[in-house]
């Protein structure tokens, strides 16, 4: 008996719902055209990532040794690799070339970082490279 009862109630519920939906649905054909999907670009598309020098449109220059010294280790004076600096290939090559020029011109030291630039803001964290270190 109970089983029949539940079946009955379910039936009633489904029929009433159908009626409700039918009444809510617009009957005219014009509005169905309005409901057509709108052509638009993918709103969830991520923005294209850029390296910091491309973003700010900076071309590294050997005379700007303060900027270049930010890509140098304060302990050994060595140039940080692309996996640490997060630069694109082109800019990294440019930075490396300009650092070598600046060092050769005695604008920049080879084996340490100028102590006046030690407190400059950090552009990246060498402990958290983008790709793992090879050692």
């Amino acid at each position: 008996m109970s089983l029949l009862n539940t079946f009955f109630t379910k039936n009633i519920y489904s029929t009433t719902r159908r009626i409700l939906v039918l009444t809510m649905r617009p009957s005219s054909t014009e509005s169905s055209e309005n409901n057509a999907p709108i052509e638009m670009e993918n709103p969830y598309k991520k923005e294209r990532r850029q390296c910091i020098l491309c973003q700010l449109n900076i071309t590294p220059d050997y005379k700007n040794y303060r900027l270049l010294s930010q890509f140098q280790s304060p302990y050994t004076g060595r140039i940080y690799g692309r996996h640490i600096t997060g630069l694109c290939k082109n800019k990294q090559a440019l930075v490396e070339a300009e650092i070598k020029k600046a060092q050769n011109c005695a604008y920049m030291p080879y084996y340490y970082k100028d102590k006046t630039f030690l407190k400059d803001p950090k552009l990246f964290d060498p402990q958290n490279p983008i790709r793992s270190h090879r050692f």
Partner: protein, 150 residues
């Protein structure tokens, strides 16, 4: 005439002498038909490392950058002349880089290896290479039996 940048390090000296040295340097350029576009004074400061030039050890220098236009053949000549100048500690000539606008390729470089173009190219090249380390016996070599263990 191509554009060059002449980075000069002059020894520590009084202002009057410095003036005459700069004059000498620039006259050498003019005498070879060059043009000076700009002279930048980057100041007098301690060098990051000591340098010995013309029998003296220098720890401080006057930094100057000359932006010049000269014939390419004159550059070697100028370098030779400046190398004989006792007031010049160090001189470097660089060609001025013209700005080439390129788009940032960081997005493509950050893709996983299988999606990177250079890796795909490497795989393609690898497929065409013959593996030299596996020897394959040829049956048409005259022997009527297989000489190795199967």
């Amino acid at each position: 005439m191509p554009a060059y940048e002449l980075a000069l390090l002059l020894r520590a000296m009084p202002k009057q002498e410095l003036k005459s040295t700069l004059k000498r340097v620039s006259h050498a350029i003019f005498n070879r038909g060059g043009i000076i576009r700009n002279i930048e004074n980057l100041g007098f400061r301690a060098m990051p490392y000591k340098t010995s030039a013309h029998g003296l050890v220098h720890r401080e220098a006057n930094y100057f950058v000359f932006k010049i236009d000269t014939a390419t053949q004159a550059v070697a000549d100028l370098k030779e002349e400046y190398s004989r100048d006792v007031d010049i500690i160090r001189q470097r000539v660089f060609k001025v880089q013209n700005d080439c606008d390129h788009s940032c390729t960081l997005e493509e470089e950050m893709l996983p290896p299988a999606y990177r173009e250079e890796v795909q190219k490497m795989i393609e090249v690898g497929k065409t290479q013959v593996n030299r380390f596996t020897y394959k016996f040829k049956y048409n070599s005259g022997l009527d039996y297989y000489p190795f263990q199967k």
